[in-house]
């Protein structure tokens, strides 16, 4: 056990700090860390910033050098995220492309696909969105009904996806489709890559309880993509999708803890200003959230050590998504307790606008987190069955 930087890690940290000090100025610095993977605040500025990150290969940090990455290991990725959060740099916009699609592409893609897509993700020329969930395929994701059939050299896609974050910003979608019409469940699915800007795709925003509309419904009515735009073998899409979900539940969220540190610090400031920090119940809650925040970090470090030393994440990894979403939800409730009566109004100016403040935003938005990317109940099934080895619950058609 040793939590100090090695000399090479210290040098890398210095490089990151120096880069951020040089570039995080002007509008970029003024923006601060507002926004998030599904929050469009400051979008245009964030796109510009992300391009700067891409130019200097901070986007694709972990990719192999042959695809333009820095080939950074897990410790370097942590260091980058730590310094990034410490500098209060703008929230990243490439979560779906860089965070979810790119690692899946590196694992399953052909050489041609990697060379086609990775550079454009790095250059922030193409943004991605994720097409998994459907109205009847939520927790039961294998019940995918969106179909794709081959028509000459093209796939033709028909169906509906839902909860598609930032679909209206995206240039491409990775979309899980049923390519074998006779199949059921997780058989016969394929992981297709489809351009978003075409006639066969209609995007309808879904207004959320927060008042904004980062989620969408995406309707496919004869949308087309080239025959080669399938990731992994045709009919093997489930396996590829599970890898994406693994990234979404695992390492992709590692940087969130650092954002939460900032949210906590801001809330603590507010609690001091309003005097709430001297209330014994609020103090206890704030301390409990702080405990949870630090434990999240320790869990992350243990998981990453396992990943580095043994090539597999330990049991701490499977609890990651369940842990942080549960914590964040509780944090949102604490935040509203700190706000007190001020929580009652969303816009001080009045006038019919629905503009939640930062505490109200966390309070509401965190309700989505325990649902998406596998609800907490699904996470507990996974932990129970795959980590603890408990027997599966019999499903319809199975006998006990």
């Amino acid at each position: 056990m040793d939590f100090h930087d090695t000399p090479s890690e210290a040098a890398f940290r210095e490089e990151v700090r120096a880069w951020l000090a040089e570039h995080l100025t002007g509008d970029f610095a003024a923006l601060g860390s507002v926004g998030g993977p599904s929050d469009e605040t400051g979008w245009e500025t964030r796109v510009e910033w992300e391009k700067l990150l891409g130019r200097d290969r901070w986007v694709g940090l972990s990719w192999p050098a042959e695809y333009g990455g820095r080939g950074a290991g897990v410790p370097e990725q942590i260091i980058f995220n730590e310094e990034y959060a410490r500098a209060n740099a703008p929230a990243r916009i490439s979560f779906f492309g860089e965070g979810l699609f790119a690692p899946t592409l590196i694992q399953f893609g052909t050489e041609e696909q990697k060379r086609r897509f990775l550079p454009r993700i790095q250059a922030v020329e193409e943004l991605w969105c994720q097409g998994f969930s459907e109205p009847n395929a939520g927790s039961d994701l294998a019940n995918i009904q969106t179909r794709a059939v081959l028509d000459g050299d093209e796939w033709v896609i028909s169906g509906q996806k839902v909860w598609t974050t930032l679909a209206h910003r995206a240039d491409w979608i990775f979309v899980l489709c049923r390519t074998d019409p006779e199949s059921r469940g997780h058989h016969g699915l394929s992981y297709l890559l489809c351009p978003m800007r075409q006639d066969g795709i209609e995007i309808r925003p879904l207004r959320q309880m927060t008042g904004s509309a980062e989620f969408n419904e995406v309707f496919f009515d004869g949308a087309r993509t080239a025959r080669d735009n399938v990731l992994g073998p045709v009919g093997q899409g489930w396996k590829v999708a599970m890898a994406t979900l693994g990234f979404e539940r695992g390492t992709a969220f590692l940087s969130s803890q650092l954002g939460f540190e900032r949210e906590f610090a801001d809330l603590l400031d507010l609690a001091h200003k309003t005097g709430a920090a001297s209330d014994p119940v609020v103090r206890d809650e704030l301390a409990a959230r702080y405990v949870g925040l630090k434990v999240m970090r320790y869990n992350g470090m243990r998981m990453l050590t396992n990943l580095v030393q043994r090539g597999v994440a330990g049991p701490e990894a499977s609890i990651g998504k369940l842990y942080w979403t549960t914590w964040h939800r509780a944090f949102g409730e604490t935040a509203l307790r700190v706000l007190g009566a001020d929580a009652l109004v969303v816009a001080r100016a009045g006038g019919g606008t629905y503009e939640p403040g930062p505490q109200q935003q966390v309070f509401m938005a965190s309700r989505a987190e325990t649902i998406y990317a596998g609800s907490s109940e699904i996470q507990k099934n996974i932990i129970g069955e795959r980590v603890l080895g408990l027997p599966r619950e019999p499903r319809q058609g199975e006998t006990s």
Partner: protein, 376 residues
């Protein structure tokens, strides 16, 4: 960054586990918990002579092996796993650290080798009938007359206080309050004027005593009146050690629950296939793994003796207390009726969990401590 035990540390864990599984099976725990002394002197001797467990974290200069707090915590986690009945925590964690933190060089030379060899059983008497864990709870008065000190007052909940050969007492000098005047003294277990009464403890696997001091002659440990920093540090180390010990028990009850959920059949299938039970087990795993992360990180901070110790000790004690108790309580629920019987071991862990949660101050107390230390 490296958050893993070394191969040597894993080997230590295996050795200690093997020894404790042989020497402290449930039958022995049940036999010893019914005795007043609450430990087996021959096993205690073997722990010292064969494995050197009492000396593990004592510096070599004082007869120890000079390993770090991390190794000490590995040993404690294994002891917590089997509910070892022995005065190890009182002697090796509480007393030895108090002496290391407060004692002069001569006193360390004189007192620590005996603890390290296991020949001396020692403890720390700090809590009083007022039941307060903070410094305001220390009221037992030390008075000086002609260069010699004597103690009068009462100590409660003193771990192994009735069997200890050496008692380190936390007292205050006359007319002081708060952190002023805090002083350490040492007293022999058989000192004149000291009345020791064994208590019937809820957790029968860990013994406590009431100690009444009536003008007991005492030797100052360090400078009388200036013991607060050493006392505070001792309590932080004790909390970290206890957090690690708790996680051994917590993992054990989780394993017990999972095994039972696989074996026990109701409605024609194992109860672990029902989400109601499966999700309980998943929650337990989350809390046990998280508690370990906190406890291990805190052990590292204590080994480094760095400035994170005050914060991470409060943090680890708060989290691990609740995680252990929750796991131990769910273990009973998952077992159903059998889990409520005297013959089933579930209640032994349930009681140890609650007792450990309360000892040194419960989770709420430690969150307030944490709040003060991080500036809430």
């Amino acid at each position: 960054m490296n958050f893993a035990f070394s191969e040597e540390q894993e080997e230590l864990r295996r050795t200690v586990r093997q020894f404790l599984e042989a020497k402290s099976p449930e039958t022995e725990v049940r036999r010893l918990m019914e005795t007043t002394e609450g430990y087996d002197p021959s096993v205690w001797k073997q722990m010292g002579q064969e494995l050197g467990l009492q000396s593990i974290a004592v510096p070599e200069a004082y007869g120890g092996q000079g390993f770090t707090f991390i190794e000490l915590c590995i040993v404690l986690e294994e002891m917590g796993r089997v509910l070892l009945c022995a005065p190890y925590y009182s002697s090796v964690v509480l007393a030895a650290n108090a002496i290391l933190n407060a004692g002069t060089e001569e006193q360390k030379q004189a007192l620590l080798p005996g603890i390290a060899s296991g020949d001396t059983i020692a403890t720390l008497a700090f809590t009083e009938p007022n039941g307060k864990w903070d410094v305001t709870g220390i009221t037992l008065e030390a008075t000086e007359q002609g260069g010699s000190w004597s103690l009068s007052g009462e100590k409660m909940f003193v771990l192994d206080g009735h069997t200890a050969d050496l008692i380190v007492v936390v007292a205050r000098t006359a007319g002081t309050s708060g952190t002023d005047g805090i002083s350490f003294f040492t007293v022999r277990g058989d000192a004149d004027g000291l009345t020791r009464t064994p208590l019937s403890t809820m957790d029968m696997t860990r013994k406590q005593a009431k100690l009444e001091f009536s003008g007991v002659a005492a030797e100052p440990l360090g400078e009388p009146g200036s013991g607060w920093p050493a006392y505070s540090k001792t309590l932080d180390q004790a909390a970290i050690a206890l957090a690690n010990e708790m996680m051994g028990g917590a993992q054990f009850v989780l394993d017990m629950s999972v095994q039972y959920a696989k074996d026990r059949v109701q409605f024609g299938r194992p109860i672990g296939s029902f989400q109601a039970i499966k999700h309980k087990c998943a929650d337990m795993l989350l809390e046990v793994e998280s508690g370990k992360s906190a406890a291990y990180y805190a052990a590292w901070a204590a080994a480094e003796d760095n400035d994170e110790v005050p914060v991470v000790s409060a943090l680890a004690k708060a989290y691990c207390s609740e995680a252990y108790f929750h796991a131990a309580a769910e273990n009973i629920q998952i077992h159903g009726g059998i889990g409520f019987t005297w013959e089933h071991p579930a209640h032994l862990y349930f009681k140890r969990a609650k007792s450990s949660e309360i000892f040194l101050g419960d989770a709420t107390y430690h969150r307030e401590l944490l709040a003060q230390r991080i500036g809430i």
